[in-house]
């Protein structure tokens, strides 16, 4: 990167199963207001532009970002919507600063999953000629991926269930989490089956919420905060669209995205050099598979990694101290919230979920069935 760019402030709502008390722009307003209060920034004087993450389908409205124009301060200014996971909104905001056109850009993401029938919408992500009529949605596609992954590498349902147990336990330390509890592997394995092998507790719950953060150029960041969190590396990558064109057990696009981010950040051994990671697993098996794609372990060793406790709190490389997506975090918001959580870790402000001494962190976002589009962001204090 030709210049350093930092995260100078983050804000999240608490994630809840339904926020029927608030419309989308009111949710967004909550986080924008808190962000400005905490950073002391003026939305007019200090922020140049906004990048939001959202989607017309999920918002149930054409050109859905017009709902937030006023509350994000975009009246007579720029706001662009990235119609992908929030991590890509962070990525675009970063590029707006790197291009030298802006020195402070706000990123917002909102989603009210409680308003919509996700399975119906997700079905529209499959091509209308051959796949849509098979009834595919993200859950049934994920079930194919889970089957393939578990079959190829001998990953067990118990190992996947351990991810759920870890996530919901970690979530007890996160005041923003929606679901936080001590459960057992047996309880996960006894929860209702949705699409073999995926059970209810293997999935992220329906969730409403919003998240926002501000990126600033080096010069500006240093004026705003004495704890800037620097973006050290970033990479994204598309995989093939047709599920049959990929080996779903090997997440090629994540491997490429991670390598791009590591190269930029000068990371050679991610497991040793990264202190904490917040990754987007919409289903329990995905966290294990993403470990492998991120190079935290070898191919097929995701199960072993969770068995060894490497990724639990207090382990060698804690993953999702916040509880991650399984503890509740809506689409679009997920990626921005991962970045926000890692930023809090870098600042040492993650409270009870703080990983002591964390200096380098990884945030990860996904879009599309079986993680077709992947984004990896490396942050450093």
């Amino acid at each position: 990167m030709n210049q350093r760019v930092a995260i100078v402030g983050v804000a999240q709502t608490r994630y809840q199963s339904s926020r029927d008390d608030a419309r989308v722009f009111e949710l967004t307003f909550e986080v924008v207001e808190r962000l400005l209060d905490e950073t002391g920034l003026s939305i007019w004087k200090d922020i140049n532009a906004v990048v939001s993450s959202g989607d017309d389908y999920v918002d149930g409205k054409g050109i859905s970002n017009d709902q937030i124009t006023e509350v994000v301060g975009a009246q007579y200014r720029a706001e662009h919507k990235v119609a992908a996971d929030g991590a890509f909104a962070v990525r675009y905001a970063l590029l707006q600063v790197l291009s030298g056109h802006h020195d402070a850009v706000m990123v917002t993401a909102h989603c009210k999953e409680s308003m919509i029938d996700q399975n119906l919408i997700n079905n529209l992500a499959f091509d209308p000629l051959y796949q849509r009529y098979l009834g595919f949605d993200l859950v049934s596609a994920a079930a194919l991926q889970a089957q393939r992954y578990m079959h190829k590498y001998g990953i067990t349902p118990e190992q996947c269930a351990k991810v759920v147990v870890k996530s919901l336990k970690n979530a007890k330390n996160n005041p923003y989490a929606q679901v936080a509890q001590d459960i057992t592997i047996e309880e996960v394995l006894r929860s209702p089956l949705l699409a073999d092998p995926i059970r209810t507790l293997d999935c992220k719950p329906v969730s409403d919420g919003a998240c926002a953060l501000i990126l600033a150029s080096e010069q500006k960041a240093k004026r705003i905060t004495d704890k800037p969190v620097w973006i050290k590396g970033i990479g994204s990558c598309y995989d093939a669209f047709y599920l049959g064109d990929r080996d779903l057990a090997d997440c090629d696009s994540l491997v490429v995205a991670a390598q791009r981010a590591y190269k930029m950040a000068g990371i050679n051994n991610p497991r040793n050099e990264i202190d904490v990671a917040e990754i987007s697993g919409e289903f329990s098996y995905q966290e294990l598979l993403w470990y492998e794609g991120l190079g935290l372990c070898g191919r097929g060793e995701g199960g072993k990694l969770i068995d060894q406790g490497v990724t639990k709190m207090g382990g060698e490389l804690p993953v999702n101290p916040s509880g991650g997506l399984l503890s509740g975090c809506p689409h679009h918001v997920a990626g921005v919230a991962r970045v926000a959580e890692v930023a809090l870790q870098m600042r040492g402000e993650a409270g009870a979920r703080q990983v002591p001494g964390a200096k380098t962190g990884l945030a990860h976002g996904i879009t599309g069935p079986c993680g077709q589009l992947q984004c990896v962001i490396i942050l450093g204090s």
Binding site: M1, N2, A49, D55, D56, Y57, G60, K61, G62, I63, N65, D66, Q67, T69, E70, A74, Q75, Y76, R77, A78, E79, H80, K81, V82, A83, A84, F88, R91, Y92, L95, Q96, L98, S99, G100, H101, I121, N122, L124, A125, D127, P128, L129, I234, G235, S236, C237, Y238, D239, A240, F241, Y242, D252, S253, V256, R260, T367, G368, P369, Q372, L373
Partner: protein
């Protein structure tokens, strides 16, 4: 210091109302191939693919993911950007940011719309307005009302709209990519069906199937790819409160004035028709071309219809506006604003063929217009300085 980006490849499909011969992916691929051929690049040489369309128009969710088949984004960086009618300009701006960031040498920007696969063309637009408060009139209501207001306030008569529509048609007939190429007469225009007074069918943009792709390159890479890079000197996005109530009740479109004022001020443009030689603006109706020209300061307030009467905005005129035939002749919605950028770039290169304007175009503006009366404006130049 701001980084620099240039357009080094331009490609678009032949725009038509129906393309039953191709599916969405195949149509997108036509534009991508054309842009890569124009830039003399192979897919391997592209670092990043940015994508956009009007999200709900074809009824497909996460369209960029399916489109990887046609865009060649497999194992490349990228994402989808969506801002309604301005999408094409937003994706172009995003590509300029990417190419100027220092992280990417080459960026492919792709937009499309295949409205023959849209179950109801107006469906997505009806969903634009606030579902609790707004009265649904759709695009016809907006533009008819704005047209009527313009007539009442400036003394413009319908014949001036007709003159402007004939100019668009003459241009479109010279542009092989344009959708409506009708060889119209004054009589044809004035006899066309009235949709909502004073908006006739021929004054309204059509529903089009088509795709456009642009290749952007970094400052270092651009001159190595082409002898005729078109520099993206500056851009501005101006959003505005939901559904633009202002445009209903006043005769101003402040998002357009604001965007234009900022671009002109930052780039030392004091005499617009002297300092800029051509404009490709997003005019959803013929009436809009007149009004928008005033809001962009191409002429004084209330003077646009006189400008049209004198032929100032013709291909051979002093200040050509929409030499491609414009949106009223070609409107693949999510792609339309990118076609403006593409056509402006071709004018600067001198590669517009039969619809190349007489005036030497060193500098041009391209604009996008979006659902909530949003404006995006890009300033393109033959040389950076």
């Amino acid at each position: 210091m701001a980084g620099r980006a240039a357009i080094v490849g331009v490609g678009q499909t032949y725009h038509r109302s129906k393309r039953p011969d191709v599916n969405q992916i195949e149509m997108i691929n036509e534009a991508v191939r054309a842009a890569l051929e124009d830039a003399q690049l192979t897919p391997k040489e592209i670092d990043c693919v940015l994508f956009g369309n009007m999200e709900q128009a074809e009824g497909s969710y996460l369209m960029d993911c399916w489109a990887t088949e046609g865009t060649g984004a497999y194992l490349k960086e990228g994402c989808k950007v969506h801002t309604g009618g301005t999408t094409g300009a937003s994706v172009a701006e995003a590509a300029a940011h990417h190419a100027a960031s220092g992280l990417f040498d080459t960026v492919l920007a792709v937009t499309y719309e295949k409205q023959d696969e849209t179950p109801a063309g107006m469906g997505p637009l009806a969903l634009v307005q606030d579902y609790l408060w707004a009265i649904h009139t759709g695009a016809f209501g907006w533009f008819a009302r704005m047209g009527r207001k313009y007539m009442l306030e400036t003394g413009c008569q319908e014949e001036h709209a007709a003159i402007t529509r004939l100019k668009s048609d003459r241009c479109a007939c010279k542009n092989p990519h344009a959708h409506l190429r009708l060889n119209l007469t004054m009589q044809d225009v004035l006899n066309s069906r009235m949709l909502l007074y004073p908006l006739r069918l021929l004054y309204m943009c059509p529903t089009t199937a088509g795709a456009c792709a642009l290749v952007f390159a970094s400052e270092e890479r651009a001159p190595k790819i082409t002898k005729k890079p078109v520099w993206v000197k500056d851009w501005e996005t101006v959003h505005y409160e939901m559904v633009g109530y202002e445009a209903y009740f006043t005769s101003r479109m402040t998002s357009m004035e604001t965007a234009a004022n900022r671009i002109y001020h930052r780039n030392g443009i004091t005499n617009v028709r002297r300092d800029i030689q051509c404009a490709e603006i997003y005019e959803p109706s013929t009436w809009s071309e007149l009004q928008f020209s005033e809001w962009f300061h191409f002429c004084e307030k209330g003077e646009a219809w006189r400008m049209a009467e004198k032929g100032v905005s013709d291909l051979e005129g002093e200040f050509p506006i929409n030499p491609s035939g414009g949106v009223v002749c070609t409107n693949p919605i999510g792609c339309t604003a990118m076609v403006r950028v593409a056509e402006a770039a071709l004018q600067i290169r001198g590669d517009a063929g039969e619809h190349q304007v007489t005036r030497d175009v060193k500098r041009a503006v391209a604009t996008g217009f979006g659902g909530s009366f949003w404006t995006e404006m890009l300033l393109l130049q033959r040389s950076w300085d």
